[in-house]
């Protein structure tokens, strides 16, 4: 099956993705890593707030709300 890499913001339709890359500075990387966003982790988008609002993500059994700008810098691999 073909695999594509997209930012977390484009992981729609309840699909599951696997984090492959965190694009950002040292501070950003640590901030998201300690909350569970790390390479290899499976993620699913639970909800997207309208008009550029934040996303709520299911990751490792917990749920986290993350701003869209930050979500755009988290890249996931997804089976199409």
């Amino acid at each position: 099956m073909p695999r594509v890499i997209v930012p977390l913001t484009e992981l729609t339709g309840g699909l599951e993705g696997r984090i492959v890359e965190l694009k950002g500075g040292f501070g950003f990387q640590r901030k998201v890593r300690v909350m569970g966003f790390r390479e290899g982790k499976k993620v699913r988008v639970i909800s997207v707030q309208p008009a550029g609002g934040p996303l709520t993500i299911e990751i490792g059994g917990s749920r986290i709300t993350i701003g869209r700008g930050m979500a755009q810098r988290i890249f996931v691999e997804v089976e199409q």
Binding site: R33, M35, G53
Partner: protein, 570 residues
Amino acid sequence: MKKIILMGNPNVGKSVVFSRLTGANVIASNYPGTTVDFSKGYMRLGGEKYEIIDAPGTYSLTPTNKAEQVALKLFEEGDIIINVVNATNLERNLYLTLEILEKKKPTIIALNLWDEAKHTGINIDVEKLEKILGIPIVPTTALTGEGIKELIYRIKEAKASKVKPSSEKEKWIKIGKIIKSVEQVEHRHHTIKETISDATIKPATGIPLAFVIIIASFWIVRFIGETLVNLIFDPIFQIYKPIALQISHLLGPGVLHDIIIGRLVNGDISFMESMGLLTTGIYVPFAAVLPYIIAFYLILSILEDSGYLPRLATLVDNVFHKLGMHGHSIVTVFLGLGCNVPGALSTRILETRKQRFISATLLAISVPCMAQTAMVFGILGRYGFQYILIVFLTLLTLYLLMGLLLNRIIKGESPEIFLEIPPYRRPSVSATLKKTWMRMRWFLKDAIPWLFLGVVLVNVLYSIGFIDWIGNLFAPLIEGVLGLSRGATTALLVGFLRKDLAVGMLLPLNMTPYQLVIAATILTIYFPCVATFTVLLKELGLKDMIKSTLIMILTALTVGGILRLILIGL
């Protein structure tokens, strides 16, 4: 005295562990970052007295906000560390654990939320984990008290770990290995709780539900408050009245009478207007405000402990982001509706100076505390609900407009929301009652001295003619610009001490309902009360507080002037 510090991620039940250890009254809630200030308690261990400190929750020892800075500082001062770990999310929690262990302080782990982990099919091999980390680990369920005895018993076994210091990357690899060898997760299906959780966070269902929940909450607060007034507090004061009249009679006219009983209205005591220590001084806190304080905090506790607030923060994030803050600021607003002091403290969880400044300034400008709200209902309710509505709609509009404006003017960054959404948890009845009781006591302890001071001050200033003098001085402003009677100046002065008392002072001025609307609105905006002012000064610093204050005064005059033009005309 040796210090024991409780360290852990936000929302792992640290405060519950703390209150179990100390038996102290501690506020714990299912919302990340509620403990922004730390709590202190004491416990005895083998005859020795220890100080226990509950540090604010943090995800790592590299702070990203003020609350986490506090946590780091406390950690460094600690002699023994109790690391409270969330058993349902071991992997993420272990990062902080490894950071703590590298500092070589005597440490013990409380593996909390143990029952929840078991229910969700997570099995952790505690013995193996103990061996790997080289420190004692005790599974606990703080809410029911399970495991707490063992934790206390084993605190003396706390020791420095032999875990070697490593880089961030190495830590994550280490954590991966640990998880693989100690944790087993059974596959499980979506639970009803999760379905409800999703429904309250998805915009299509979550936004309508949020409106229902908020409106219902305020309706319940009003209902409980009114019921308490009608069934308990008013009857008590009816019984008390003849006693007060008797005292009035014994005292006879004079300054002492004015201070203790106040002025009689048509030969009778008016609890709202007499302005004496034993009349208005006790009626306002106990009968007019306390019932609503009880009702408000009861509902707030349930909203906090159930875990609804982070979902609300997600839903409103969009709006708050346009105002220069993020969804987290809804917590400041909610706490502020009870009392502005905890509201101001809660701004510490925000990351940047800009966010804190906007959040705190808007809090002071347009979030009335419960004491004030109750009084506004008290004086305007008799004329009809529409007048109350004008006050609150004005404040809401102001919050939005000022936010948009400040977002443009204030330099600095507004980072995005990044917030854990804890699972829904059923609030425990005893915890809710305990919390409401504590907050109620806190209100009385905080309010009564200022109320009494306010009452005495008004009477003394009145008798030396200061009130007339200042009334004349500000008459052009109060009468000319705001269209109020000049007596309102005194109310605004007293408002610095207590806003509820100030609202009450508007009554004897015989103003029209519209004038009362303007005065009540101005009372919220122009300046925070002394308790809030002190906290804000500490949180924002002198320079920003001066800025914030200037904004408040300017806004009060502008809004007052506009309201006057609309409601009264020139």
